[in-house]
């Protein structure tokens, strides 16, 4: 990964590709690289859909190697949804393929002067950029089929659906999985709209003839990777719970805790939860001839995903994960798993973030556009978005825009980005992360529960508000660092409980790059990523007032525990003091 591929979309005579050495960005990957490029090269006050914004695709530091779980692709830009910096990441095959082709990043720059759309083909021999208006307004599934017909089935695709072309703030970037289906998405923040603004419909990657990236010290790397895999397999979460039920195993748990946001965050428990839980979903998949244990890319040993078949045993979509099942399910009062799976399929095809769409439909239901629990109405609303009707244009721009358009007060967003599936009144610590994350409300921003191993920031008394703030800070630092490696965040539990598994991750990085990284270096990396992102956001006009949860979380009691969010604003303002 010694080079960066820069593609300028705007010049006379059509787009131009240049391959340049990685230079000043050497030694970083994933989120560290996307955020470094965006914060250095994108004017913070630029229009996110304008020529000055850049869209960066970066594999992680260990992507393209034999390291298990290393296939996350980071996608970064200035976000049209939040107005701040964005890194959204995705599983699928794209990250491994791009890394094996030798690219540390692809950067899309400028903007075409017309409304043509392009496809980009990258293989070992170079880069081809072709105008292809036959792809216009196709869904992701149809685009991938066309690419398969044209380039064969040894490819990975990064594409957008109609939502990206219409530059909607909820538009995602799709990556194909092992079966060459566009089921993995860099969902959050409207990264698909930025790809649409660049006039790029699809990037096709073919790594035929390329080898796996080779480590500096192959023996040590092999041993560290073995310890890493052993650690993941022996832990009950990564070795049993996630493979058996996927992330949707959380539905019953959050519901029981009374922290499962229901009917647009008005309740903490959903009566239909057992009908849409991970346990029920896994049993449905297995009975219909699908699968409840499946990886999103080669080299995943946890395999939290699955294959969801319809009632007739035909493929419908990949296993909808917890956030999706919640957003389209309990959050909208819907307890029909088949309808939720259909909504997941439509989101993937139109190219939409499932969290943003589910939260948006919840707000629309609160406004009376449809009734809570009406699954067919929810499906119709997603079709409105895909077709770009006037109502669809409002919904496709997310929960904040929809709340404004319909005069709804209870709109669950931070920095305009919809909250994920954990009510911060029940689990207050996650509210600190939602409020202060550089990304807008984002559960993955504080996901890497490794902070007690890294011991960032010394002693924490977690019983005080400052303690909660300190814990959130540590989680955000650790997560930013994991996002730079290309590792799937679901490694977090094994790393939390088993220090030797965390050490195996460090050993892999050290053996691969010939380094001597320690836990402190990982902490420093996480801090530097967050610092870049905070600086960008400050220059883009963000102030402490943006690091807040919506007012209703402080005022409305959440049944059944009847609690409000209690962390004080002045404590939130100290999250990034280190």
């Amino acid at each position: 990964m010694d080079n960066i591929l820069r593609i300028i979309m705007g010049p006379e005579g059509g787009p131009k590709a240049t391959v340049i050495p990685v230079g000043e960005y050497a030694g970083i990957g994933g989120r560290a690289l996307t955020s470094a490029i965006v914060s250095k090269e994108v004017p913070p006050l630029c229009h996110p859909l304008g020529a000055d914004n850049k869209l960066v695709f970066a594999p992680g530091l260990l992507s393209g190697t034999a390291a298990a779980m290393s296939g996350r692709l980071s996608v970064g830009c200035k976000s049209p949804l939040t107005g701040g910096i964005k890194e959204a990441n995705s599983g699928g095959q794209a990250s491994q393929t791009l890394a094996r082709l030798g690219y540390a990043a692809i950067v899309l720059e400028g903007a075409p002067k017309d409304d043509n759309i392009y496809k980009i083909f990258i293989n070992k021999d170079g880069v081809e950029i072709n105008l292809d208006n036959s792809l216009k307004m196709l869904g992701n599934y149809a685009v991938v089929e066309k690419m398969k017909a044209e380039y064969g089935d040894k490819i990975a695709c990064i594409s957008i659906g109609p939502a990206g072309e219409m530059k909607m703030c909820a538009a995602s970037v799709a990556c194909t999985d092992m079966e060459l289906r566009p089921t993995r998405h860099a969902g959050r923040g409207g990264v698909g709209a930025v790809m649409g603004a660049k006039g790029v419909k699809v990037i096709v990657l073919d790594d035929s003839g390329m080898k796996m990236r080779s480590p500096k010290d192959p023996d040590k790397f092999r041993e560290a990777n073995k310890n890493w895999v052993d650690g993941l397999k022996k832990h009950p979460v990564t070795g049993e719970g996630l493979p058996a039920y996927g992330t949707n195993v959380l539905t019953n748990i959050l519901n029981e805790a009374g922290a499962y946001p229901t009917k647009n965050f008005s309740l903490g428990q959903f009566a239909g939860s057992s009908k849409i839980s991970g346990e029920t979903e896994a049993a449905t998949e297995t009975t219909r001839g699908g699968s409840a244990t499946h990886g999103c890319h080669r080299g995943c040993v946890i395999q939290c995903s699955g294959i969801y078949m319809d009632k007739n045993g035909q493929y419908l979509t990949k296993q909808p994960e917890y956030e999706t099942v919640w957003a389209h399910g309990g959050n909208c009062g819907i307890d029909d798993l088949d309808a939720i799976a259909m909504l997941d399929r439509l989101d993937d095809d139109y190219g939409l973030d499932t969290i943003e769409m589910g939260a948006t439909i919840g707000v629309a239901m609160e406004a009376g556009v449809a009734k809570f629990g009406d699954a067919q109405a929810a499906i119709s609303l997603v079709h409105e978005v895909g077709k770009g009707t006037p109502l669809g244009r409002i919904l496709g721009n997310g929960a904040a825009v929809t709340g404004k358009a319909f005069g709804v007060e209870r709109v669950p967003v931070v920095k305009n980005q919809a909250l994920p599936a954990y009510d911060p009144r029940g689990v207050q610590g996650i509210g600190v992360t939602y409020a202060t994350s550089t990304m807008g409300a984002d559960h993955t921003a504080g996901y890497a529960v490794t902070a007690n191993i890294l011991k960032v920031g010394g002693y924490v008394n977690p019983l005080t508000p400052e303690g909660q703030v300190e814990l959130s800070r540590n989680l955000q630092i650790a997560t930013a660092a994991v996002d730079a490696t290309g590792m799937c965040l679901f490694i977090a539990f094994a790393v939390l409980d088993q220090p030797e598994t965390f050490q195996a991750l460090l050993d892999m990085l050290n053996a691969f790059y010939g380094l001597n990284l320690t836990g402190d270096d990982v902490t420093a990396l996480g801090k530097s990523i967050l610092k870049n992102e905070r600086n960008f956001n400050t220059k883009a006009g963000f102030t402490p007032a943006h690091d807040r949860l919506p007012e209703f979380f402080k005022k409305e009691l959440l049944p059944p525990h009847n609690v409000t969010f209690k962390v004080r604003d002045e404590d939130l303002d100290t999250v990034f003091n280190w």
Binding site: P236, V249, I253, K275, A283
Partner: protein, 213 residues
Amino acid sequence: MRQIKIAEAANAANLRLTWAEDRFEDFAELLQRGFMLKARARSSIRDVLCGQFGISHEYLDQRINTIFLDGKPVDDVDSATIGGGSKLALSAAMPGFVGAALRKGGFYAPMRQVITHVEGTESVPGGDELFVLKLFNLVVKELGPLFLDSGIWLDRRDLESFFNSRPAEFWSGCLQCLMEVDELEVDSLHKGKWLIESPLVYLRIHVVTGDKQ
């Protein structure tokens, strides 16, 4: 689920099923929703699960990683006590930050301090009462057969609605069905013809491998 008095348990209708092991997971949804068991009131969670139902201490301490009592995460299974009508839910370890926060006695437990279970002062054990138990994820697979075999109480309407919403394949798991002492055709359960007056059903399911026993 309404609160049921212990006296009603004695009048419950007895339904006994013999079920094929490979279709046992069909009951997972029922076990997630919750069922009733008898326990000595105000006994600790440990006393009830290990002392009265024979679950090993090791399993409770290591496998059952996340516990809720009346919807509140529990950190100490020795001090939290179960009373009549209590709702207890048991789960294995959960992923992610929130999974870590809800875990019993975990490092991130303070992040959900506002909903944590706090034991009251009344802790003198009393007579038997019914409480509700919910089993989630890996714990359903591992403890479900034990509770179904020893017998659980269910509200008749909940059981009827469970049976009525089952797909056709579900019934292929049913090898034998006894209501009190009479053998019933599987069809009667399937088609709602088993209706009884008792508001409670005491259900026992014997799981077998292979053919009818």
